[in-house]
């Protein structure tokens, strides 16, 4: 049998089949459309998953933040970090020449009661006096400092040296 004869035969058979089932084919589209809502997935469970996911992410963030602040260890070995051990303080700020003596809140306390703050990157090399303010009123010097000076009413300031970038202080 030649190819064109084969094609004619297939076409003729399909035409006959279509004529025989004309009624069913006419309603086929409606049947499919009617079935669609039943097969469409229910959107509510997905919203639920999204909500649960968001809550989980928020919980991880809050727990991470809490762990970061309370259970972590302050990076006091970093020379660019100022630290003060004061476990019972409600708040600790640093005031320094490089902040124009404006108190800047410190992070903490960590699990050992250490409060800490990283020195700003833009700070110029030089000598700076500073101190800590505990609970908004009490002036405390830094016992880790290597130099101290007496100021007003014999209050004591700590001194730190910022070396030019790439040099040891």
């Amino acid at each position: 049998m030649h190819e064109h004869e084969w094609e004619s035969l297939v076409k003729e058979t399909l035409t006959r089949y279509a004529d025989a089932h004309r009624d069913r084919i006419a309603t086929l589209e409606y049947e499919i459309v009617e079935e669609l809502p039943e097969r469409r997935p229910n959107p509510h469970p997905r919203w639920g998953f999204a909500l649960a996911g968001a809550v989980a992410v928020a919980a991880i963030f809050v727990i991470g933040l809490w762990v970061g602040l309370h259970l972590s260890v302050a990076p006091c070995s970093d020379p660019d970090v100022l630290c003060l051990v004061y476990p019972h303080a409600q708040s600790v700020s640093v005031a320094a020449q490089f902040t124009l003596w404006e108190p800047v809140p410190m992070n903490g306390p960590d699990r050992s009661g250490v409060w800490w703050i990283r020195l700003p990157q833009e700070i110029k090399p030089g000598r700076y006096e500073y101190g800590f303010i505990v609970d908004g009123t009490r002036w405390v010097y830094d016992p880790r400092a290597t130099e101290f000076v007496h100021t007003f009413d014999d209050k004591i300031n700590s001194v730190l040296y910022i070396a030019p970038r790439g040099e040891q202080p």
Partner: protein
Amino acid sequence: MKRLVSLLVLSICVSWIGVEAQPTPEDVYKCFVELGVSDLQTLQTAFAKGFADKRITPDTALKLCQRLKQSAAPISLREGVLQIIGRALLEELPVTMLVDKAFEGLTKGIPLDVINDDLLERKTTLGEVKTLLASKGVTIGLTIRFGAVTLTLTLEVVDTTITEAAGALEDYVRGGGKLDDANAIKSAVQLRLSRNPFIPQTLTSYIDQTVSAAEWAQIAQNIAKRLKKP
């Protein structure tokens, strides 16, 4: 074309906002008026000179004025802080230490009469150090030759040197250092100068060779007298 005009207008607005963000001398004078100073003219003249000489910035002066506005002390005491700094500016003294101590005192809640006394005392020390160093030729424009190194002093370097030397002497006396140990006093000054990265080593060496221990000790003793330290 419309886009180009919009972009131009936006650029002008952004640059105008940028300019506005930096306080001007006029902002400072306005703050003085709001503070209620009695001698605005003198303050304005002094701070205008300070801004021109770059010994103080309008930003720092405005912050100081605003901090003084928050104080509950009598206006005469609050104005006193500005007047002392203003006089130092007119006398061409560096004011970094005075401004710094004013901020520190305000933060620590030190009474303003105590702050003013402290500033006056330190201003006197700055003047004495400036006079001593000037007598050795350490002034703006001085050219020092040390071996192969030639150094011409700028206002910033001279001011920093005066500030550090005066600060070292003040700290020495206030810290209870021995006033009869002239060598220890000189060492304290030299150490402070050598640790400041803005003061060239050549200048530190020059001062070491030209200023005697007795000369530094004399200023330390003057400080002790003013502070009534034994």
